[in-house]
Symmetry: C2
Subunit: 362 residues, 2 copies
C-alpha cells in the first residue's frame, strides 16, 4: 500500500492505494469522528462489496447504515439525493456521522454532495471502485448532481477525510468502464506529464490486460498529478481548470445525447480528440501529435469520433459549461503533449470547422 | 452608516448598517466579481424594493436577473430552490455572477444555499429587509432549505461577500415580524451580553415604536455579538452553538405545528422561555430571572407559552436537532442572564416537567 497526501492545510487527507484495502478496517475507523457511518452505494456494487465492508466495520464496533441507490448517471439527480437525506434523517444520522461513498463516480459525486449538505456538512470517505473514480472523481472534493440544463451544475467543494483506492476492485470492472477510466489516465499525460504519456503508450496493453502492477502505477501517477493540481488550486480559479481537458466538448456530448448514453470517460475521450483538433486548427500542434492522441485513445477502446449534435446545439450545450466567463466558453487546449492551457478566444469559424459533421466523424 | 467586519481571514466581509443604503449602489458594485447579479426576492418584498434596486444597479452598468419567489417559510424547500437554479441556468449565470438575497430570513437562507451550490458556489450578497434577518440570519454564512423531517436540515456554510442592512426597510415591516426579530435581539442579551439586556429592558418601547436610532443601535449591537461568535467558531464546533438558545425547543414547535404557522422568532421566544425554565429546574437560575426573560418577551409581543405537542412528540422532534451528538440532544441553557452554556445531560424527568401541558401553558 502507498499513501499519498493531498496537501490542503487543515483539510489535507490521504489517498491510500493498494490491494486488499477493503479488508483493512483501520483505514476507515481511524478517520471516523464517531463510530457510525452511512455507506452510500448502488445496486451493482452492493452485491460485490457491501456485505463484507459492513461486517468488518460492525466487527470493529461501527454502526452502519447502508443506502443502496439505483445505478447510473441518470440517477445523479435531486430525487436520488433525497433518498439519502430521507434515510439519514430517519436513522437520525448526526453531524459527526461519516458518509462513505462505495462505488464509482456517480456514487462518489452524489454521496459527496449529500455529505456536503446534510446538516450543512458531515465528514466523508471515498472508496472508489472504478478506475475513473480512483484516478479522478474521488480526489479533489468536487461533488455534484446533474440538472436537466447541465451536468454537475448543482454541487459543492467538499473534501473527503480519506480516499481508499483498492485496486482489487478493478478486477470486476466491465471492460467498457476500464476503458472509460483510461481516458482520464491518458488525460494526465496530455495536460502535464509527457513522460507518463510515453509510459502509457508503452504499457497500454498491460493496463487493458489488468496487470495489477501496471494498474497500481497508473492510479498512483494519476493521483499524484491530480493531488498536485488540487493542492495549488482547490477551487478551480486557475490551473485546476486544465484537468477539464476534453470536458467542455465531452459534457456537451453527454448532455446532448442524454446523460447515461455515453460513459463520462468515453465522452471525455472524444472531447480530447476535438480539443486536439482545435489546437491543431490554431497551429499549436501538428498532425503527428493529434494522431498520437487519437491512437492511444483508440487502443484503449475509446471513441475518437464525436456524435453529430449540430453546430448550434454544440454551442448551446457548451455555453452551459461552468468555465464560461463573461459569456465566453473557455476551452482547455494543447500546446504540446504534456502542456495544456486555457484559451478563451477560440474563433467561431474554428469551432465550426472542428465540429462539422464530416470532421467529427473523420 | 457604520461598517462592522466579520473576521474570517480571506473570507472576511463587511456588514453595513444605516439608513438609505439601498440607494448607495457602490456598496454592492464594489463587491461584484463581474457586472452581473441575480436578485432573489419574494412576492412581498419585490413591489417594495426590487424595481428601485434594479434601476440603480442597471444605471451602474450591472446586468440584473430578477427572481421573484413565493413568500413564506413553507416555500423554503427544494422545489423553490430549483426555480432559482432553472432561472440562473436558463439565463446562463456564471461562476462570477453574484447572487443577491433581497428579503428576510427565508429568502436569505434559500438564496444563500443556491449561491453555495450553483456551479459549486458563486459569490453572494445579503440585503436583509427584516429585523430578524438583519440581526441574525444574514450574518454568519448559514444557508439551508427545510426537509419534511426537519428545519434547515439541508444546507451549507457559505459566507456572503457583504451584508447591507438598510434600517429604512424596517419601517414597512409588519408588527408581527418586528416582534419576531426582537426575539433574536433579546437572545443576544441573554446568552452573552447582560448590559445589552439591561438596555433592551430600558428601550423596548422605543424599539416597538420603531425609533430609528434605537433600531440602528439594536441591529449594530446584535451584529457585533454575532460577528464575534462567528469569527471564533465559523462552523459551529463550539461556542457558536450558544446562538441556538431557544432554537431546539423552537424548531420542534415550528416542525410540530407545520412550518409557517409560527414565525421563527415567535417559536424561538417560546423556546427561550422553555430553556429558561429548564435552567431553573436544574437550579441554575431563579424565578426572578425567568420572570425577567418572560416579561421582556411578552412586552415585545412574543409568545411565552409553547403549544402542547405531547411529550413523546417533543422528544422526537428535538431528536432531529443538528446539535444532537451520540444520540443526546444538547440544550443551550442559561447560567445567568448574560451567560449561556451547552448541556448534554438534561434528565428526561426535567424535560417531562418543563414540557407538561399545564407547564407549557403556565
Amino acid at each position: 500500500m502507498i499513501a499519498l497526501e493531498v496537501g490542503l492545510g487543515d483539510r489535507s487527507y490521504p489517498i491510500y492505494i493498494g490491494t486488499g484495502l477493503l479488508a483493512e478496517t483501520t483505514l476507515i475507523t481511524k478517520h471516523l469522528a464517531q463510530p457510525r457511518v452511512a455507506i452510500v452505494t448502488n445496486e451493482t456494487i452492493a452485491p460485490l462489496y457491501l456485505d463484507g465492508l459492513t461486517k468488518t466495520l460492525e466487527a470493529a464496533g461501527v454502526r452502519v447504515l447502508p443506502i443502496v441507490l439505483p445505478d447510473g448517471e441518470s440517477h445523479k439527480v435531486w430525487d436520488t439525493l433525497n433518498i439519502v437525506f430521507d434515510r439519514m434523517l430517519t436513522a437520525r444520522c448526526e453531524r459527526k456521522t461519516t458518509v462513505v461513498a462505495l462505488g464509482g463516480g456517480v456514487v462518489g459525486d452524489l454521496a459527496g454532495f449529500a455529505a456536503a449538505t446534510y446538516q450543512r456538512g458531515v465528514p466523508f470517505i471515498q472508496i472508489p471502485t472504478t478506475l475513473l473514480a480512483q484516478v479522478d472523481s474521488s480526489v479533489g472534493g468536487k461533488t455534484a448532481i446533474n440538472h436537466p440544463l447541465g451536468k454537475n451544475m448543482i454541487g459543492a467543494f467538499h473534501q473527503p477525510v480519506a480516499v481508499i483506492a483498492d485496486t482489487d476492485t478493478l478486477r470486476t470492472l466491465p471492460d467498457r468502464e476500464l476503458s472509460a477510466g483510461l481516458a482520464e489516465v491518458i488525460k494526465y499525460g496530455i495536460i502535464g506529464d509527457a513522460p507518463f504519456f510515453d509510459w502509457l503508450e508503452a504499457n497500454l496493453d498491460r493496463l487493458l490486460a489488468r496487470d495489477p502492477e501496471a494498474l497500481a502505477y497508473a492510479v498512483r501517477r494519476s493521483c499524484e498529478n491530480k493531488a498536485h493540481v488540487v493542492a495549488i488550486d482547490e477551487r478551480e480559479t486557475g490551473p485546476r481548470a486544465l484537468l477539464n481537458l476534453g470536458h467542455t466538448f465531452g459534457h456537451a456530448i453527454e448532455a446532448g445525447l442524454g446523460f447515461g448514453q455515453w460513459l463520462h470517460g468515453e465522452a471525455v475521450a472524444a472531447g480530447m480528440v476535438l480539443a486536439a483538433r482545435t489546437s491543431r486548427a490554431l497551429g499549436h500542434i501538428g498532425d503527428a501529435e493529434v494522431q498520437r492522441i487519437e491512437r492511444i485513445l483508440a487502443r484503449a477502446r475509446l471513441p475518437v469520433s464525436a456524435p453529430d449534435l449540430g453546430f448550434e446545439r454544440w454551442l448551446e450545450l457548451m455555453g452551459h459549461d461552468k468555465k464560461v466567463e463573461a459569456g465566453t466558453t473557455r476551452f482547455i487546449l494543447v500546446r504540446r503533449i504534456g502542456e495544456a492551457y486555457i484559451d478563451a478566444s477560440v474563433p467561431r469559424a474554428v469551432l465550426e470547422r472542428v465540429l462539422a459533421p464530416d470532421a467529427v466523424h473523420a
